[in-house]
Symmetry: D2
Subunit: 346 residues, 4 copies
């Protein structure tokens, strides 16, 4: 039984970790961390957990946690994990960080986009970017995982095969993404009130969203080129789900079958990546509540571009699910253990 | 491994049966029945099932089905199950009928409220009303289960302890219920289009809804009196969930603790019924995707009435989940096998 | 041109006042009051007002306001209007208070249900309860209007004809109401976040909601009896709209036609009250954005009860629209001036 | 008083025409056409119109209509208007066609994208493309207006100033659009049911949507170049609204102020086009129920691209509102007569 501590268990991603881990056959939660709700029963914060979780919320005593837990998930705002990690801690336990603290290898880039000083740059190099389908081997032996962002997961996996094979013009990439509102977190802000989000769609972080350098890094690693992209997220009136619609110029004319073969090369053995049938496009409803990434593409012969689309559940494959997938890999379990949830519809 | 056939697998309740049974450790689906989609791949009808179900939809060849399946679920419109059942079939297999065909013991009453002639009244007496928490013993040996309606499940379980103990005036009961739109089915009707349902709430079937006699029957059995109620369902712009708010006059003044003891008497050992803490009321979001029934009550000393509230997921405890719970009981499994899904939020 | 000042113009009701008054032929807004956004441009708070309103938000300097404005609308939390009103002010201007401060004639009752001390009980007697269809004559000469609450407006108008004519048992009344989320206000609270409200329905304020005594008072005035009711509001995932479903025992058997005649007696000349056709029930979508109240009823012969239903747009007839209707009456305008908005669908 | 006939008055666009025209000071509806609901009261089809419209639905007797009406709006499926128009008709009345029949000047292109044979190609040349802000002068004297599509209106107006001034690489344009569900029409289809649309976002018509050639034509006219674009619409779970996010490579480096001056050159005197403040992006909620087009842009210096964004209400500026705007121009009225609706929020 893997003993799990969660720091930040009362955000949406934290709560999803709880939901998943309660149903995981080989894991047990030993620490429900939450600064905001210390000493409050977890099931009072999330009524779905009534009679399923009896624990109270606790602060983040890292020394105690490191002794108790085989692995710690940090589902916390940027900067917190960076301030908590230490060699001492990592000798005793593993950390899977759901924040951005260890995703960007270039500390100056991190500090510029996130506007904060990194508290433990010495661990950035060691940290493994936990995009499981791409970095599986490195994840196996990692002590510290930088769990990917929701948009980067969806965008990168949609584009990866074409980037890796060098088939698209890497500086022609435009990613137009749409996210459900759980991605905005559980903080009490007017902008996220029901009446403000409902019946509307809006772009945000235009040409400035923090996931931009993360996506660019991953696409650069895949293609071996320095990549600059346009990335525009939009807020959609729904709870869960991300859809990324990505556009790129094909370097040469390709048929559907040729591109399909490229996607299959990378994904046909991946349990969580489903390359859809021809002319069937990803829809977030078909992955809701699951760890699946549905991807597909369309070639536009008129413009010479390819449209690459991907859909995930942002709190599962985009956060808690992928974190557990990383845990499974790190602890030598079957990668989909506890993650075979059938998407829930409607 | 229990071999399961589903007739009507392409409605919302049928699809939920598939979702649940795919994750059930002791069941295997051998027949995806659907008149509307014969020969179409099931995963083309429901994209969430892509790479999880390879089968095609089939018609309802009952002889073949009865041989192949240990149990048949009929998630079909009223009248169909009644037309399919026979002694021959029931000798070979069990039937769990999610329609209303065998819920009303008085055939005249059924025919009046449903406006159709019953095709096999000879099986009505044998059929067991599968409200598991109430009729568990009878379910164990049943060949034919009348799986309860969504509103009756939620309403009856909310009121049952008070009715059974004779503590409320049975003819003062008013049930005001609110349902998500999946309860309206997957038929292509203007009234159920997104733009018609969204941003609105409406009552329907006022003083005439077909679940009225079903609820009245159950409350009559519980109380030993002939009961007439008011029942008003409302359509709510959400996918899943039923909330029933029920009002009744208390026969005598009672304290919170006294009423709580009554609820606990019936439900404290029930896995699926959660009696909430004082002054915490049921909300459908806390049971979504699960088989839980959350109930609670409030005494209004000013008016001498008790308000009894219950929340379920209409396609789980209100349909497919309870059907599987019945299957578990009939086949001697732990009652919550494959049904321990943690409610999904948000 | 009526010069209008609005205190509390940046809540949902305040903003709706602005929307309506901008399109009113005889009114002009001279003061956009808002403590929270002083000196911020109004159109930065509400983007819909871009290029329509150039004013900045201001505090509530009552002396200045009373000189500038012919009428002041206070769309503010309970207690504020009570603390601002004075003989001095009322000599110079009229006040239409959208809060509860002057709705309850019994100051002790007000203080008990609202939990605050009333700041100006000397004006309670003078204040006119602005339920226009009922108190039109008194409104004409009022200096201070207590604009009715959203639930009381919808509930009272649904029940009024039956209560006034003495046809129902007044102590059998149960009102089960459902409200869109704009009724919860624009404050930044976790409970009102998109992901908390969406895909759920919940009761709140069970047997304790502050609109209870207001409804009881109005029904008492109508019937001439002391009335106690059960009132249960529910939060619905939609922006606007209230549906009230009310139940009462008929004192004697009545036909549809007889009851219809009673409703017509009171409402057939009312522009804003629409008594629907037989068996057509109110739906909030059909009144959205308008000042209409749609009402209808159904007699249940089995139980001897009548179900009375009403639908309004909570921010129009339930708040800003009715406030403007009161203004029209007070200033001798046609009652529906600036209020003939056709309901917007979908 | 302009006498108006509407063919196709029971679709969402047709109903919006009714809503707008009922509030128009100089227009009167004399014909509520609807093949599907002949002889049914219009207010039974749309409950919001109860007591506002007494008329019954009628078929499309063009001869009679041409005599009765000064202008006919056809809010009908592709092909119908083309089959009804004739010199005879146009001698007696004007036609504003909300379908695509007369939008594409090249009949072969129309027939290829729409897959039907054009019934009256002889009128294509005469027809004026009613994008008011661009073709105002031609609209004045037109007999036959091709009212623009919803996506083309939003996309073209977002991009127009940059295209007209030759500041962007016309073959680099990618338009990623998001639409509310009313755009899918009121037909009874499973794909548009509440539970299918809610809680999901999906792309559709990828690289094949029929609005593509219409947008390309307009951008070609503006720039004087043959333009090919990528256009991807997405279905969003909301009733109304279109957001178009468009990407293009700037031909040369430009500052915010330079681009702003370009937008102001075209739009500063346009009542319905609102160029937002710096770093404020269009959101559909701020234009709901109104005829406004909110536009803005962001320059991404890193990639050398400009992101141009626009938001409209698809049934107003994207259909009925623009149609009435065209009517106003054709009949010499102030262009915003009856169209000054303040956007409704929330």
């Amino acid at each position: 039984m893997i003993k799990v501590g969660i720091i930040g268990s009362t955000g949406y991603a934290g709560q999803e970790l709880v939901r998943i881990l309660l149903q995981h056959p080989d894991a047990e939660i030993v620490w429900y961390g939450s600064r905001s709700y210390i000493d409050k029963k977890y099931s009072e914060v999330f009524g779905n957990m009534f009679q399923l979780v009896d624990d109270k919320c606790m602060g983040e005593n890292m020394d105690e946690l490191a002794k108790k837990a085989d692995v710690i998930f940090t589902a916390t705002p940027q900067g917190l994990c960076g301030s908590l990690v230490s060699e001492e801690i990592l000798k005793n336990t593993k950390i899977i960080d759901l924040s951005a603290d260890f995703r960007i290898k270039d500390v100056a880039k991190y500090e510029k986009w996130y506007g904060i000083k990194h508290q433990s740059p010495e661990f950035i190099k060691e940290a493994v970017y936990g995009l499981c389908e791409v970095n599986r081997e490195d994840v196996k032996n990692a002590r510290l995982i930088a769990n990917p962002g929701c948009f980067p997961t969806c965008s990168t996996l949609s584009i990866y095969p074409m980037a890796k094979e060098g088939l698209i013009d890497m500086n022609s990439i435009i990613i137009d993404a749409k996210s459900g509102t759980s991605g905005a977190g559980r903080g009490a802000k007017v902008a996220n009130l029901y009446c403000e989000v409902n019946e509307s769609i809006k772009p945000y972080g235009v040409a400035s969203h923090r996931h931009t350098p993360e996506i660019e890094d991953q696409l650069s690693y895949a293609s071996g080129e320095e990549v600059l992209i346009n990335f525009t997220p939009h807020l959609v009136p729904m709870n869960r789900g991300i859809l990324a619609t990505s556009y790129a110029a094909l370097k040469k004319k390709m048929s559907y079958e040729e591109v399909k073969a490229v996607y299959d090369k990378y994904y046909k053995d991946e349990y969580f990546v489903r390359v859809l049938e021809k002319d069937v496009y990803p829809e977030t409803r078909w992955v809701e509540g699951s760890n699946f990434v549905d991807v597909n593409f369309k070639i536009d012969e008129r413009t010479g571009r390819i449209i690459m689309m991907g859909a995930i559940d942002n709190v599962v494959k985009g956060a808690a699910g992928q974190a557990v997938q990383n845990m499974n890999i790190m602890f030598g379990l079957e990668e989909n253990t506890g993650l075979k949830m059938v998407p829930m519809f409607p």
